[in-house]
Amino acid sequence: MTDIVQTPTPGGVSAAPGATTVAGAPLAGAPLAGAPLAEGGEITSSASLLRLFVSVFAENRLAIVGLVTIVLMVLFCYLGPVIYHTTQVHTALLTANLPPSNAHPLGTTSVGYDVLGRLMVGGQVSLEVGLGAALLSSLFGAAWGAVSGFFGRWTDSLMMRIVDSIYAIPPLLLMLLMVTIFSPTTFMFIVVVAIVSWLPTARLVRGESLSVRTREYVEAARGAGVTRGKIIVRHIIPNVMGTIVVQTTLQVANAILLLAALSYLGLGPPPPATSWGAMLNNGLNFIYDGYWWLIYPAGFAIVVVVLAFNFVGDALRDALDVRLQRH
């Protein structure tokens, strides 16, 4: 029996190329874009982070497709209504349930709303809640995780058991409960989605901050008498920024799906506002009538946006080679 003694390679924590984590596999087996990271994927300045992201997008075709899709979708939802005028508040029962035609390229709904115009308006809500919830959950989750990991010991245990407790309740259950308790405004939906979305970010950031806090420069800062709050803001957070950015991108997709489910169940933004999920709810009522234009467009819109944010997020993650778990 010959034992091969493995010597630690420089920058050794990263796995062998091709070996991947649970959900961390690149879609097209794309190689880890370059590997300009020293010391196990550590990034010290925001300039190098930016440079890294630029190089990712230059090399990863799916990431470019994702980014372009997101830009086009934003233009469609916000610039679209400026060019393509429709009424999405007043009903028009005389022109209800029309199949696609020149006047209505994607047909009309059961109360006469133009489906193409409704996609734009519904998309605004979906994108706003998606982005808002992703940012809010990342902000809160990162702060929670950084504090938990940095302080360690029983503070860490307590904070992580709180995360576990909220995590044990299925997100949709918690969301439905909160939606029935609070008044349904866009901001409230952002908060409700964020409340069920910050947990994975907190866990990931906590894990990384546990390892960052043992680094020499943190020890040095501590020895120099820098306050703990300042160490977290100046040393811990910048070092886990990559994880936070990746997680935010993936959370946008997740938030859009969560809002879609909520809206589908009839507890999303109330009329006259609409979202893609609410449009699909309407479509199910007419599924036997063959009104496919109530079912395909809104569903495709969700899938396209969710895929786009995932492509971008995965590309960023491959670049950073951080071990994330998607939910």
Partner: protein, 315 residues
Amino acid sequence: MLAYIVRRLIQALIVVIGVTLVVFLLIHLLPGGPARAALGARATKAEIHNFNVANGYNRAIPVQYGLYIWRLLHGNLGYSYKYNQTVLSLLETNLPKTAVLVGLAYALSLVVGVPLGLYQAVRRNKFGDHAVTAFAFAGYAMPNFWAGMLLILAFAVGLHLLPAEAPQGATVGAIFTDPRALVLPVVTLALVNFAQFSRFMRSSAIENLVQDYMRTARAKGISTGRVIFRHLLPNSVTPIITLIGLTLPIVLSGAIVIEAVFNYPGMGLLFWNAALKQDYPLMMGVTVVVGVATVVGSLLADLLYAAIDPRVRYD
């Protein structure tokens, strides 16, 4: 091993207490508190006061929490005034049916996801691998209710092969009277996990493929099929047990939506109707039970994994 079990049990107990605290907090976030939850929006101040005194909601918050736990421990999950039944009796009829749906969906996603992931690992970076990956990604990006609608369009409306509505009935036995009607709800719910399982299996198998024992097995001249099924499969499939525990909250979330799509008479449909009717006692009761169930589920998964796989480190 014993120390690990004890530590894991204590941890689970703390999380269970955390779940009850979250729900307790939500009950008190209601404008008007638990009284409003039980009596509805039109209750008068006097009625609310009387309810609070009668149920101890005028006492100090820690005492109230103690009373809440005491009631839970006695199986008193609250009373649904909308159904005029106890939450416990409603759950007794509905929860088993959801358990059937979730169990079948897990079984299906494992039976399909594990072999596909294995296939992907063996044929990695070839066409088949990419095709399955693309399919898994599409499954992940698709809202599950939309997937359900597309399946209804194809198999119920288009081909007239399967019913669009889930089997109806009060008991678990009634669910099985029309197995064809179970197909679409189970398949749709299985899609939620299919991507997770196949991705996990793929990366787990790839990690095992580079291990020494794989090379040894091949060097001994064992046939490829035997290497894959006797060596690669058992070694890479066990960690999936923990993934089953971890994905429980997500799958139960999916069950709510899918029961709504197919009118499946389970816990999800019950909860959804409760949300539409603002039946707070029912919602709070279901949330506590489901929350505790997921904690117990992941605890069992972890213990089972530790029992099966001796490589698990107990730290």
